[in-house]
């Protein structure tokens, strides 16, 4: 033993080793459990399936309400998820398939349903309104346009994928 002040004492040494070893063991025990709990964050995004919704030549300039379902794997539970789209041709002859989920707080909007606001998408929850292209009208609660489904056309058939935000697009 020396009498130098900054020498590690036997008690300190044991304290550090025990805390270190104990901490390591504790961490080894907790780490897998934490990984287990945060697993939903570790799962990557799923690939989008494109699903047949309607024939292209049936698409009109007036939005039509179409429903379709996709396979959904929810952990150990497999089911069909139902989706709705408002589908029409714009003046520029582009196909637009709008999601009916209000961008304010997620209620369901309807086309042309409110007599006061003809030819608009109207949300009954807080009077949210969108024009025909799904753009939110100023001074109503929604903060961005209705989401639009990604689409593909194969052999004259319209296939829809996921609804994507059009903010800034």
């Amino acid at each position: 033993m020396t009498d130098k002040k900054n020498q590690v004492s036997r008690r300190q040494f044991l304290n550090y080793t025990l805390t270190g070893v104990g901490g390591f063991m504790g961490a080894a025990m907790i780490a897998p459990m934490v990984g287990f709990a945060v697993d939903p964050l570790l799962k990557g995004e799923k690939e989008t399936d494109f699903v047949y919704v309607m024939d292209v030549d049936e698409i009109t300039n007036e939005p039509q309400r179409k429903t379709f379902s996709t396979d959904q794997v929810d952990g150990w539970y497999e089911s069909q998820a139902e989706h709705t789209a408002w589908i029409f041709r714009t003046e520029e002859d582009e196909i637009l398939a709008l999601s009916p989920v209000c961008t304010h707080l997620g209620c369901v909007v309807d086309w042309n349903s409110n007599e006061e606001y003809p030819d608009q998408f109207y949300c009954p929850c807080h009077d949210g309104r969108y024009n025909k292209l799904g753009e939110n009208l100023p001074n109503t609660p929604p903060t961005e346009p209705l989401h639009a489904y990604e689409y593909r056309i194969e052999d004259g058939k319209l296939l829809l994928g996921k609804a994507k935000s059009r903010k800034g697009a």
Binding site: I30, P32, M33, F36, D39, G75, W76, Y77
Partner: protein, 224 residues
């Protein structure tokens, strides 16, 4: 930093005496394996506690995915074991820990028995210890059913029939456990789950508290 935080709390709540009461106590020479290696037999109680902590933690995490329903139970166990990150490890801890805890509790009991440590004035602690042993067996029995596979189902069938063989009250006892006089099914699984995660753990914590308070009051029994 930590010191400052501790001091800040201590200044207000005076926690040092509480901390002293819980953690700062002398370990007599005859139970310290550093003095006599044979004193390792005194570790089994602590090891039982350690494994119990692992069981509680891993069990809590398992319930994030498990569902106690006859249609989905097995699928959810399969999912958590094969699809969830570290699922095999977490379920493995709970699975093997269940056996280890029984082994440890048994070794602890043997030590107390052969050293005669249960004798006056520690009889009450022995009784609480025996109750703890039964609670652990109950946890093992109810947990065994939860994966809802064939082994689980038939093991429970056997367990229920053992309960049924109790004189006079056997029939009622079995109905009470299974939730139905004839079927081992949906109601049984829901009830075993409730017993496994709420009722028995509550009893376990209460009894463990009593066990530890008594040992602190009476101290470890003297050398042989």
């Amino acid at each position: 930093m930590l010191h400052k935080l501790y001091d800040w709390i201590d200044e207000r709540l005076d926690i040092t005496p509480i901390w002293r009461d819980i953690a700062d106590h002398e370990v007599p020479e005859h139970v310290n394996p550093a003095h006599h290696f044979s004193a390792f037999v005194y570790c089994f109680g602590g090891l039982t506690f350690f494994v119990t902590v692992i069981q509680v933690l891993s069990g809590m995490f398992l319930t994030m995915y498990y569902v106690p329903d006859i249609v989905n139970a097995w699928e959810s166990v399969k999912y958590l074991q094969t699809q969830v990150a570290h699922g095999q490890i977490v379920r493995g801890m709970h699975h093997w820990g269940a056996s280890v805890v029984i082994v440890m509790i048994f070794l602890h009991t043997l030590r107390v028995f052969f050293q005669g440590a249960y004798k006056k004035p520690r009889e009450l602690n022995w009784i609480v210890g025996v109750l703890l042993f039964f609670v652990m067996l109950g946890l093992g029995f109810t947990g065994y059913l939860l994966p809802w596979d064939n082994k689980a189902f038939f093991a429970t069938q056997v367990g229920l029939e053992i309960a049924e063989s109790v004189p006079y009250i056997g029939g009622d006892l079995k109905t009470l456990l299974a939730g139905d006089p004839e079927i081992v099914g949906a109601k049984t699984l829901a009830r075993f789950f409730a017993i496994h995660v709420f009722f028995l753990p509550a009893a376990l914590f209460a009894l463990m508290g009593a066990h530890f308070i008594m040992i602190r009051r009476q101290g470890i029994s003297g050398p042989l």
